[in-house]
């Protein structure tokens, strides 16, 4: 078996990233779109941590910041979702077609 190198992790991260992008681009449900964004962020994290093995701990620090960011994003995103749902009674992203309601 080939030894596991950084490249292997990068490929997994790329796969996750692609999955996240597919989710964002194709799904209608806002909740799942938000979750796909989490997937993308995680793919980035995996990259950062994988690189941190090569270049020192800074990557991990960045990963922590990304997680913080993800928390903030999830909170605000879900807040928007709730406000949106209350007004339109739908969670479909393609029905968010008004600038103001």
């Amino acid at each position: 078996m080939v030894p596991i190198t950084t490249l292997h992790y990068l490929v997994v991260a790329a796969a996750l990233f692609v999955l996240g992008v597919i989710g964002v681009l194709t799904r209608r449900n806002v909740v799942i779109v938000l979750m796909s964004i989490e997937l993308i962020l995680n793919a980035v994290n995996l990259n950062l941590v994988a690189f941190s093995r090569l270049y020192g701990l800074h990557g991990q620090i960045f990963a922590i910041f990304v997680i913080t960011d993800a928390a903030a994003e999830a909170a605000v995103g879900l807040g928007i979702l709730i406000a949106f749902f209350r007004n339109k009674e739908t969670v479909n992203v393609d029905e968010v077609d008004l600038l103001k309601w």
Partner: protein, 169 residues
Amino acid sequence: MQPVATTFFFYFLSAVTVISGIAVITRRNPVHSALALIVALLGQAGLYLMLYAPFVAGVQIILYAGGIMVLFLFVIMLVNIERAQKEEQFNKQWIVGIVAALALGVLFVLVYMKGKGLFPQTVAQLPEGENTQGIAMLLYRDYMFAFEIASLLLLVAIIGAVVMAKKRI
């Protein structure tokens, strides 16, 4: 500590992560998606452990799986999903989306293949035992300012979420 069966664990965890990732974007029921995402996150935490980043793994579990995902589940339960489940799950440009995303993936792989030689051949010496201390030093010394900004960001997010989720603005 000498890692054991690294190869097996890597493939196992990657498989878990990627398969759960697929489940996230294909499940009809958002709760199932969320559960799949949790599995993906835990698998990723395992990958972090393999990368000698136990602190990030811990943060991943405690914040992502224990915090953010609970928030997701909470919201899914608040919004009525039964009707959303019966509707069309994918939007009209799904073919375009998948093609674009796959193209992006191919691009990534190509770049990695080309740029493989650019990576340093030596692995940085990061003993697991001092990982947390090292991160603490960096976080509170070199990245002190960023750390404070992150806390500010969280504060803004809290206020924003509260304002938006309030019944009457």
